[in-house]
């Protein structure tokens, strides 16, 4: 397409986490984004959740900063209550017709004071709380909604139904924002690309009466249960039976409701997330109410993700959650007290009956009909499971060029996969629209910063309720009253959620109104939220470093939940300490240095090549280092993807594309020898072959060093030639080697080396892999006897289809979880496999011509050296540990370094490719900034105190401190201690060494620490029984 007709704007449909991520990555990469959301506020499903697995973070708390970022981004235009009607044009130049439904509240005027809602006479069931609570006809979706603007539900509104009635809201609305005459309007948006992040809807179990949903009040869906557990939910986080509000004693989770089910519904696929969220909810209960009996009834426990297996283990062993492998087919009432009766068949084949007070249905994910229709309208092919049909090789590309998809619309997936998808889609768009990057975006000059250095401190203290997270324990009124008494505190405010968009605007307002020049936010932890508040200070026109956070949630309310008085007293101390510190906070300016517009990609596997190619298309120079003599990595051993796509062909094309791309340089037999520098300006020493070395300057680095395969020590592997590992088997299979060709009976053994004591994680792709091989064998010769001995079958998502297919083809699945692993013996003509048959409940002996071991995927041992060079953490299992399992899945705490593929965790090809694209998106987003602002929290020498004794020089781990020579006034040569602003990382080791306080890390000066100590010890310790 000719560049002049390309448009540097992008439409993102769907304001869930995936769409938000895509929007943020694109907006920061130089593209203008229209973020179209059908409801009244962005956020998607996440805000409804209480916590997220496996980190147990509070969902609202981690998403809130992203909501705010979207809300305030100059290059993102959020269009709520809007739906896409039509898309015309082609890649690079689309015209999108968007219908914006009336809100009946003028967003420009609404100040979200909430008076309308409080006075509105009409209450209706609140869909956000899944109809377990009421909301008014005029409402906001949820307290932290972005944009925080009220909306009127036309079906519920009395006035809109009966034009002459009611209208109170309009009368009392202070800014007069209500407009009953509001009409829907259509917009024609011209964009270069479209991203479909259409999301999902939870399966509605009311469609069938099987589980008594809708009949018995004590049968709830998992999403409703989330709301029960949520502090902001209908019960304020208190668990009680819906029927009689009695405390709950026994809870049953029923898995696979609306998933893996072709009888009650047509959802054949596995919804992927239910096992984990059920465990999460079970854990949450057990933490709050250890005495409650929690049972999870499941078919296969599918916890293949990173750290999932441990999470599962913990629930079982530490928290005593009961797991029963059995599918429950019905729920009946027992008595009239609201108790419920369950029937199931236990591991020994016996019928068992159980009574519980509460049944939670772990409902699956499905694509809403409206979305399916929209997809069809714009010609996106869908799978039989009604998800976007995508190739494993191009996991965010639809059948329509220029239109991309991500999130659960691509198939059921959890938050990290959705976030990765969003970034991946952004990367693909960036590659497509690179020629018109920065053409539609605008950069707002930050408001002029006022110099407060000579002003008397005027401190504003903002105390966060964090819903009930803090206010539920700490007497926030008392803390606020106390804060007002502290010296130089000029203003104190309390907020339900200090991190929410409206509070940010409020803070900006109050900072200027009250002439505040120092800010204390008493809320959660600075590690996650300080960046947000810094931005707020910036937009208020005061230096972003004049802030200090008092961590009264994570490190107070949550750890002293049992002792409100203690927590309140401690909150006061923490606020006093923060005030004492912020008083001594000084304005700082980040150091801006240009970014080297090139990327080092380590590892020439599919992940590495994908990232390299995308970034090259984004216009950056790439240096790709491969340890071996050829590109391809582990994919060289793969034959096909789960849905049968041919890997070797794809690999060939990918390699050629990489090798031929003018902006990619590949060095083979190369490894990283040394690393220096920092985000934006790394210098890396590459050792090629045995001897040759060269240094490479790059602004970012992507680590795609892949993984190793486990060499089995069990099952006579290596002793009996007919026992082979699956990778080897694929080769033999491809060449139809005699052992395979003549084989009549094949036994696959799963979890070889995975999910063991020493490797308590799932290798994720083995189940699918074995089943594929099995199907192929069966197709070749239906007479073949094929057994798969497994513990759980983890064909998550739409892979379930091949599991079903395999069973229908007569492949025998035998679960050895209960009775231990099979035993292997050499037999005269083959191998004897002995295993306990879990259906027949007796030992079974199989004569196999071949035994195929699904060997585990191991972390690459070379990761350790790399991790040390780049200062990156590794997980317990030796894989690279990302910055945040949920929302920062390819980043590290070390800026400018990203990870993708098996280096991060075992995963199938398409997930590696998505993650590679996501990593590329992050690198591209970074390089698009052209220059980097380095944290100014670095060591500063105080010439008044420093006398060049040089004790700090040798201690600096970064060689950032040097003795510089200069001539003094008399012209005699003197030395002085200097700090290299770029090299210094602000660790403060020098500060801990200096005998005379001659060197201090800005923001953590000795004076500040001393002030905190003094403040901490000012008041008597809180009274508390010992």
């Amino acid at each position: 397409m000719p560049e002049r007709t390309m448009i540097g704007a992008v439409l993102v449909v769907g304001g869930g986490i995936s769409g938000m991520q895509a929007a943020l990555d694109l907006a920061d990469s130089g593209y203008f984004v229209y973020l179209v959301e059908k409801t009244g506020a962005i956020g998607g499903a996440m805000p409804q959740y209480n916590k997220v697995f496996p980190t147990n973070d509070c969902a609202m708390c981690i998403i809130s900063p992203k909501l705010v970022e979207c809300g305030r981004h100059p290059n993102i235009r959020i269009m709520t209550l809007s739906t896409v009607i039509d898309i015309t044009g082609k890649a690079g130049n689309f015209t999108v017709r968007v219908l914006e439904h009336p809100r009946y509240v003028d967003p420009a005027k609404c100040i979200a004071c909430g008076q309308c809602s409080s006075r509105c006479p009409r209450s209706v069931d609140d869909s956000f709380n899944i109809f377990m609570a009421k909301r008014k006809a005029i409402y906001i979706k949820y307290p932290q909604a972005v944009p925080l603007k009220y909306q009127i539900d036309p079906e519920a509104c009395i006035r809109l139904q009966h034009p002459e009635k009611c209208g109170i809201c309009a009368e009392i609305c202070p800014p007069g924002a209500i407009d009953f005459t509001d009409l829907g309007r259509e917009h024609d948006l011209r964009v270069g690309a479209v991203i479909m992040a259409l999301g999902f809807q939870p399966f509605d179990p009311g469609k069938t009466r099987a589980w008594g949903y809708g009949l018995y009040p004590n049968v709830v869906t998992s999403l409703q249960f989330e709301r029960f557990l949520s502090p902001g939910g209908p019960t304020g986080g208190v668990l009680a039976r819906p029927s009689d509000r009695k405390p709950v004693q026994r809870i049953a989770f029923l898995q696979c409701v609306g998933s893996r089910d072709r009888n009650r519904c047509n959802n054949e696929y596995c919804s992927t997330v239910c096992c984990m969220y059920a465990i999460k909810e079970a854990l949450t209960i057990k933490e709050a109410y250890p005495e409650v009996e929690v049972t999870i009834f499941y078919m296969d426990m599918r916890t293949p993700g990173k750290e999932f297996e441990r999470y599962y283990e913990r629930a079982r062993t530490e928290y005593g959650v009961r797991f029963v492998r059995s599918r429950i087919h019905g729920v009946e009432p027992k008595g009239n007290k609201g108790d419920l009766r369950l029937h199931y068949i236990n591991a020994h084949g016996k019928q068992v009956e159980e009574t519980v007070d509460l049944v939670v249905l772990s409902v699956g994910l499905e694509t809403p009909d409206a979305m399916v229709r929209l997809a069809e309208k714009i010609g996106i092919h869908m799978t039989p499971d009604r998800f976007a049909s995508i190739s494993a090789f191009m996991p965010v590309h639809t059948s329509q060029k220029g239109i991309f998809t991500c999130g659960a619309f691509n198939g059921p997936r959890d938050i990290p996969q959705s976030v990765i998808g969003g970034s991946a889609a952004a990367a693909s768009v960036s590659a497509l629209l690179n020629p018109v990057r920065h053409t539609q975006t605008r950069t707002l000059p930050p408001p002029p910063e006022q110099d407060v250095s000579r002003q008397e401190p005027r401190i504003g203290v903002f105390i966060c309720h964090c819903g009930t997270n803090i206010a539920g324990v700490v007497d926030v009124e008392e803390v606020a009253a106390y804060a007002a008494t502290l010296p130089q505190v000029a203003h104190v405010a309390r907020n339900l959620f200090t991190c929410s968009q409206d509070t940010q605007d409020l803070m900006v307002q109050q900072i200027s109104d009250k002439g505040l020049n120092r800010i204390v936010v008493a809320a959660c932890t600075p590690r996650t939220h300080e960046p947000l508040f810094r931005k707020t200070l910036k937009s208020a026109g005061i230096n972003e470093y004049l802030i200090e956070m008092a961590n009264i949630r994570n490190q107070n309310a949550w750890v002293h939940g049992q002792e409100p008085e203690t927590a309140t007293a401690k909150a006061k101390d923490l606020v006093r300490m923060a005030v004492a510190k912020v008083r001594r906070q000084t304005a700082r300016k980040p150091l801006r240095i240009p970014i080297t517009p090139s990327v080092l990609v380590i590892g020439g596997g599919v992940a590495g090549m994908t990232a390299a190619l995308n970034l090259a298309e984004q216009g950056y120079r790439i240096h790709l280092t491969e340890k071996t003599t050829q590109l391809g990595g582990n994919a060289l051993h793969l034959y096909q993807t789960w849905n049968g796509e041919h890997v070797p062909r794809f690999l060939k094309e990918l390699k050629e594309a990489v090798q031929q791309h003018p902006r990619i340089e590949v060095s083979y037999t190369s490894t990283v020898a040394a690393v220096s520098g920092h985000v934006g300006n790394f210098t890396t020493l590459i050792r090629t072959g045995s001897s040759r070395k060269r240094t490479i300057d790059h602004g970012a680095v992507i680590i795609a060093t892949g993984a190793k395969r486990y060499i089995p020590e069990e099952f006579e592997y290596g002793k009996i030639p007919k026992v082979v590992a699956s990778i080897e088997f694929d080769k033999l299979h491809m060449h139809n080697e005699t052992r395979v060709a003549n084989g009549k009976s094949f036994v696959f053994i799963q979890c070889v080396g995975s999910r063991t004591q020493e490797r308590p994680y799932c290798s994720k792709s083995c189940c699918t892999h074995s089943i594929q091989s099995a199907i192929k064998l069966k197709k070749e010769a239906p007479s073949r006897q094929i057994y798969i001995l497994y513990r759980e079958i983890r064909t998550y998502g739409q892979r379930e289809r091949i599991y079903n297919q395999a069973r229908e083809m007569g492949i025998v699945f035998i679960n050895y979880e209960q009775h231990g692993p099979p035993r292997i013996r050499r037999a005269d003509s083959g191998v004897l496999v002995e295993v306990w048959d879990h259906v027949l409940h007796r030992p079974l002996e199989i004569r196999a011509d071949m035994v195929i071991l699904a060997a585990a995927t191991l972390a690459n041992p070379e990761a350790v050296a790399l991790a040390n060079m780049f200062k990156l953490p590794l997980s317990k299992d030796g894989f690279f540990q990302e910055a945040h399992a949920k929302l920062r899945p390819v980043e590290f705490h070390v800026d400018g370094v990203f990870v993708a593929g098996l280096a991060h965790y075992p995963k199938p090809l398409e997930e590696s490719i998505s993650q590679a694209l996501a990593a590329a998106a992050k690198a591209g987003r970074l390089l698009a900034r052209k220059e980097i602002a380095l944290e100014p929290n670095i060591a500063l020498v105080d010439p008044e105190r420093c006398d060049d004794c040089a004790l700090c020089i040798d201690v600096c781990p970064y060689r950032a401190i040097k003795l510089a020579e200069y001539r003094d006034s008399e012209g005699t040569l003197r030395t002085t201690v200097t700090v290299d602003r770029v090299l210094c990382k602000g660790c403060g080791i020098c500060q801990g060494t200096c005998p005379k306080r001659g060197i201090d890390v800005a923001g953590f000066t000795t004076a500040q620490i001393e002030a905190q100590i003094d403040a901490a010890l000012e008041s008597p310790a809180p009274e508390g029984a010992i």
Binding site: H560, I989, E1010, I1013
Partner: protein
């Protein structure tokens, strides 16, 4: 006076402070008289700060860093370790019970380990009771 011993905890931003946050997320409970001061690295804590805190009436001071070899700043925690020795020596010279100071390692994924360290130290200090130093008191007593 029947009160929990006041303990100042210097937690490094990368491991122990993160662990303290995680302790909250995991709702672990520990004594309410712990006051955490966030530092970038355990190697940032000047021994003088420890002494200052004890002289100002803290019952105990605990410095918590990343596990050895896992320091975000390569060797900051080794620095803290080297200093811990000399702090112990100096406390002895000043006639302050060594139990009042502790250095320990906690990774960002070990909230329980952190909470346990807090509990243990608090219990240890309960045994000691009296505040760390009474320099001022000494001098005053001499004048009287």
């Amino acid at each position: 006076m029947n009160r929990e011993p006041v303990i100042l905890a210097f937690c490094c931003n990368w491991c122990s402070y993160a662990a303290a946050d995680l302790a909250g997320i995991s709702r672990l409970q520990y004594p309410g008289s712990i006051r955490i001061i966030r530092v970038m690295c355990s190697g940032m804590v000047h021994p003088e700060m420890v002494l200052h805190a004890l002289n100002k009436g803290a019952d105990g001071v605990i410095v918590v860093g990343c596990h050895l070899g896992e320091c975000h700043y390569i060797k900051g925690n080794e620095m803290a370790l080297a200093r811990a020795e000399i702090i112990a020596d100096t406390l002895e010279d000043l006639g302050i019970a060594a139990e009042r100071f502790q250095l320990t390692w906690v990774s960002s994924s070990e909230p329980e380990r952190l909470a346990e360290a807090f509990r243990a130290m608090s219990a240890r200090l309960c045994a000691l009771r009296a505040p760390a130093t009474a320099e001022a008191a000494d001098a005053a007593g001499e004048e009287a």
